[in-house]
C-alpha cells in the first residue's frame, strides 16, 4: 500500500512548505503568499479525504503503518513512525477542513494587518503540526509535533505582541501547557523504560497492543498503585494541560487575546482537542487500569460545570465561547471516561464544527463592530448582519443541544453513557447542558436582538461582513446542523468507522436521555429568553443575573478568581523560591569569593614564602657563600711578594712532609 505513504507525505508537506515559504520572504508578496498557504491546506484536505476514502471504501486489511529509523543505537533504534487508522483519518479531516475555512476567513479578517504574511506562516506551521500529531505512530513523533503545536499557539496568541496583555497571555498559555507537557514527557520516559518501545502499533509489539499492555500491567507497584496507573496518570496530566481542564484551564480564556480565527482553529477545534485525541489514542492503556477512567470522568464533569458557571457571567463575546470550550472539553472527557473513544471523538467532531462556527461568527461580529468585544455594547445586529446572525444561531443551537442538530446527537450519546456508568457526573452533565443553553441564549439575545447599545460611531459603521468572511460561516453552519446525522444511535456510521465496540442499546433509557437532553436545552433557552428578552443591559449592574445572584455573579464574572488563587499560592511560592535561590546564589558567590580570596592568599603566601624567602633565600645564600669564599680567596691575592713567597714555601714544605710521612 505505497500510495498512502505518498498521500501522507503530501498531507504533511503542504502546510509545512507553506510555513517555510512564509519564513523566507513571503512578506514581499503577502497576497500571493496567502493563496499559497491556502493551497497548502487545501492539499491537506484532499489528502485527508483520500484517507477517508482508503479506509472507508477500500478498507485495507491490516494497519497502515510506516516508519523510518531516526536514531540507531547498537542494540536498539528509535524510529519516527506514522499510522493512518480511522481515528487519525477522522482527525485529519476535521483539522484540514476547519483549517481551510479558517484560512479563507482569515484572508478577509486580517486584510488590514501589516504582518498578515507572518500570520499565515504561523497558521500553516500550526496546521502541519496538528496533522503530524494525529498521524503519529510513535510517542517521539507525537511529542515533537505536540511541542510544535505549543510553539505555534504561543506565536499566534501573542501575534499582536505590542499589546502587553497579548504577550502575557501567550506566555501564560505556553507555560501552563508546559506544566502539562512535563507529565506527558515523564510518562513517555517511563513507558520507554519498561517496554523499550515508543511505537503505538508495531506488528504486535507496540505499546497499544496486548503484549506490551500485559507487560506494563505486570510491572511492579509504586506508592500503592501500579506502574501503568502512574504512567497513564502522567499522560492524563499532559492532556489536562493541553485541553484546559481544571486545574490547568487558566490559559484558555486568556488565549482569546489572539486574533479570532486563531481562537477558532486552535482553541476550539484542534489544539485543545489534541488532549482528547491523546486520550483516545492511548485508550487501550487506560482500559487496562482500574480507576483512572473514573478519575477522567470526574475531572471532565467538574470542569464542565465549573466552566459553564463562569460562562454565564462573562461579558466578552469571546470569553463566553472560551469557557464554553473548556466546558465542552470536559464533556468530551466524560464521554471518554464513561464510554470510550468513540463517544469523545464524536463530540469532538461535532464540537469542531459548531465551535469554530461560533468563533468565526464572533469574529465577524467584532469586525462589524469595529473591534468592540463587549456584548453589553452590542445588540440589534440581527438586522444589520443577517447571514452572520443565521449562521451564529445555528451554531448556538447546535452547542446548546437543540434536537436534530449535531450537538444534540453527540451530547445525547455521552449523557447515555454517563447515566449508565456514573450517576453523579451525569447529574453534573445535565446541569452543564442547562447552563450551556442558557449562556448561549444570553449571548445571542444580547448580541443580536434588542437595540444597539454601543457608541454612535460604531453604530454608524455597522455592516454585514464581506463574503470572504460569511461564506465559511455558512459552510460551517451546514455542517454544524447536519454532521450529527452520521452518528445517530440507529445508524452509527461514525461509531462503525472508529471501530467502537458494539454496545447493547437500551432503547428506553436512550429515549429518556434524548428527552432529558431536549428538555434541558429548551429549558435553558427559555430561561435565557425570559431574563434577557427586551432588556436593555448596558452594564454589568444592569444584568438581570446580577440582580438574581448578587455578589456570586460578580464572583463568577471574575472567573472565580482562580488566577488570583494561583498567584497567591503558586505565585508566592515561586517568589519565595526565587528569593531563596537568590540568597543561595549570593551564598555561592560568597563562597566563590572566599575560595578566590583563599587561593589568592595562598598564592601570595607562596610567592612570599617560597619564592621570596625560600628560593630567593637559597639563591642569595648560595651567592653569598660564593662571594664570601671569593673574598676569602681574594685575600691570597694581596700583591705582597713576601706573602706569595711564604705561601709557596709553606706549600712545598707541607707537601714534602706529607710525602715523607707517606713514604
Amino acid at each position: 500500500m505505497e500510495i498512502w505513504t505518498n498521500i501522507l507525505l503530501l498531507m504533511l508537506i503542504g502546510p509545512f512548505m507553506a510555513a517555510i515559504f512564509g519564513v523566507f520572504g513571503a512578506v514581499r508578496a503577502p497576497k500571493k503568499y496567502i493563496l499559497v498557504s491556502i493551497g497548502g491546506i487545501a492539499l491537506s484536505l484532499v489528502c485527508s479525504l483520500g484517507f477517508l476514502w482508503i479506509l472507508g471504501v477500500i478498507k485495507p486489511a491490516g494497519l497502515l503503518v510506516t516508519q523510518f529509523a531516526w536514531m540507531d543505537f547498537a542494540h536498539s533504534s528509535i524510529p519516527m513512525s506514522f499510522v493512518v487508522d480511522p481515528l487519525s483519518a477522522v482527525m485529519c479531516f476535521v483539522v484540514s477542513f476547519v483549517a481551510l475555512l479558517v484560512f479563507i476567513f482569515s484572508s478577509g479578517y486580517m486584510e488590514h494587518d501589516e504582518r498578515k504574511a507572518r500570520y499565515f506562516c504561523f497558521l500553516s506551521f500550526f496546521t502541519g503540526a496538528m496533522l503530524g500529531t494525529v498521524v503519529s505512530n510513535s510517542l517521539l513523533t507525537f511529542l515533537i509535533f505536540w511541542e510544535m503545536m505549543g510553539l505555534a499557539s504561543y506565536l499566534l496568541i501573542g501575534f499582536w505582541y505590542q499589546k502587553p496583555s497579548a504577550a502575557a497571555a501567550a506566555q501564560k498559555a505556553f507555560l501552563t501547557t508546559r506544566i502539562g507537557d512535563l507529565g506527558l514527557l515523564a510518562a513517555v520516559f517511563f513507558l520507554y523504560n519498561k517496554t523499550g518501545t515508543l511505537l503505538f502499533f508495531d506488528h504486535g509489539a507496540g505499546l497499544l497492543e496486548p503484549a506490551q499492555i500485559a507487560l506494563l500491567q505486570k510491572a511492579g507497584l509504586w506508592a500503592g498503585a501500579g506502574y501503568l496507573f502512574w504512567v497513564c496518570l502522567l499522560a492524563f496530566w499532559g492532556a489536562v494541560g493541553k485541553s484546559g481542564q481544571i486545574p490547568l484551564h487558566v490559559w484558555l480564556p486568556d488565549a482569546m487575546e489572539g486574533p479570532t480565527p486563531v481562537s477558532a482553529l486552535i482553541h476550539a477545534a484542534t489544539m485543545v482537542a489534541a488532549g482528547v485525541f491523546l486520550m483516545c489514542r492511548l485508550y487501550p492503556l487506560y482500559e487496562s487500569v482500574d480507576g483512572l477512567l473514573t478519575l477522567i470522568t470526574w475531572v471532565g464533569a467538574i470542569t464542565a460545570i465549573f466552566a459553564g458557571m463562569i460562562a454565564i457571567a462573562q461579558s466578552d463575546i469571546k470569553r463566553i465561547l472560551a469557557y464554553s470550550t473548556v466546558s465542552q472539553l470536559g464533556i468530551m472527557f466524560v464521554g471518554l471516561g464513561a464510554g470510550g473513544p468513540a463517544y469523545a471523538m464524536f463530540h469532538l467532531f461535532t464540537h469542531a464544527f459548531f465551535k469554530s462556527l461560533l468563533f468565526l461568527g464572533s469574529g465577524s461580529v467584532i469586525h462589524a463592530c469595529s473591534g468592540e468585544q463587549n456584548i453589553y455594547r452590542m445588540g440589534g445586529l440581527k438586522a444589520k448582519m443577517p447571514k452572520t446572525f443565521l449562521a451564529y444561531v445555528i451554531g448556538a443551537a447546535a452547542l446548546a443541544g437543540i434536537p436534530l442538530l449535531s450537538g444534540f446527537w453527540s451530547k445525547d450519546e455521552i449523557l447515555y453513557r454517563a447515566f449508565e456508568h456514573d450517576k453523579l457526573p451525569f447529574l453534573l452533565l445535565c446541569a452543564t447542558s442547562l447552563l450551556t443553553a442558557f449562556y448561549m441564549t444570553r449571548q445571542v439575545v444580547l448580541v443580536f436582538f434588542g437595540e444597539f447599545r454601543g457608541t454612535k460611531e460604531v453604530k454608524h459603521h455597522l455592516h454585514e461582513s464581506p463574503s470572504l468572511l460569511t461564506t465559511p460561516l455558512i459552510v460551517l453552519a451546514v455542517f454544524a446542523a447536519l454532521a450529527g446525522l452520521i452518528g445517530t444511535p440507529w445508524m452509527n456510521l461514525f461509531g462503525h468507522f472508529i471501530h467502537a465496540p458494539e454496545h447493547e442499546i437500551n432503547v428506553p433509557i436512550h429515549l429518556l436521555m434524548m428527552l432529558t437532553g431536549t428538555a434541558l436545552a429548551f429549558g435553558g433557552l427559555l430561561l435565557g429568553v425570559k431574563l434577557y428578552w427586551n432588556r436593555s443591559v448596558r452594564t454589568m449592574a444592569d444584568d438581570p443575573l446580577h440582580k438574581l445572584l448578587g455578589s456570586f455573579f460578580v464572583f463568577l464574572n471574575e472567573r472565580c478568581r482562580v488566577d488570583e488563587l494561583y498567584e497567591a499560592t503558586l505565585g508566592r511560592f515561586m517568589d519565595v523560591a526565587a528569593r531563596l535561590s537568590d540568597y543561595f546564589e549570593i551564598f555561592l558567590e560568597f563562597v566563590n569569593r572566599m575560595v578566590g580570596g583563599l587561593v589568592y592568599t595562598l598564592a601570595w603566601v607562596e610567592n612570599k614564602v617560597l619564592d621570596e624567602w625560600v628560593i630567593n633565600g637559597i639563591f642569595s645564600a648560595g651567592c653569598e657563600s660564593a662571594r664570601i669564599k671569593g673574598v676569602l680567596a681574594a685575600k691570597f691575592q694581596n700583591g705582597s711578594l713576601a706573602f706569595y713567597l711564604r705561601m709557596m714555601a709553606s706549600g712545598a714544605l707541607i707537601a714534602g712532609i706529607i710525602y715523607w710521612v707517606v713514604k
Partner: protein, 102 residues
C-alpha cells in the same frame, strides 16, 4: 767525609737561602738568597756525583755547569727587573709593589 756531611751542608745552605727569601723585604737580598739556594743545589748535585756510581762521568759536571750558566742568566735578568722596578716605584721594598692584588 761522608756524603751525608756534604748533604747537610748543602741543606743548611739551602735553608739559609730560604730564610732570606722568606724574611727579607729588600728585593736585592731576596735575589742573593735565591743565588744561595741555587748554589746549594749545585753542591748537592756535585756531592751525589762524586759519591755516586760513576764518579768519572762527565755528565754530572755538565749538568752543574749548565745549571750555573742558567742561574747566572737568571740573576742578571732579575737584577735588570729590580732596576726597572726601582725606577718606577722608587723603592726596592717588596711591600711597596702591591698593585697586582685581588
Amino acid at each position: 767525609m761522608t756524603l751525608g756531611f756534604i748533604l747537610i751542608i748543602s741543606a743548611a745552605l739551602f735553608c739559609i737561602g730560604l730564610f732570606g727569601v722568606l724574611s727579607r723585604r729588600n728585593m736585592i737580598v731576596i735575589l742573593f738568597s735565591i743565588e744561595l739556594m741555587f748554589n746549594a743545589a749545585h753542591l748537592n748535585l756535585i756531592a751525589f756525583w762524586r759519591f755516586g756510581e760513576n764518579p768519572l762521568a762527565i755528565s754530572g759536571l755538565m749538568f752543574v755547569l749548565f745549571s750555573l750558566a742558567i742561574s747566572g742568566a737568571e740573576a742578571a735578568i732579575g737584577l735588570a727587573l729590580i732596576l726597572r722596578l726601582y725606577r718606577h716605584y722608587k723603592s726596592v721594598e717588596t711591600q711597596s709593589i702591591t698593585e697586582l692584588k685581588g
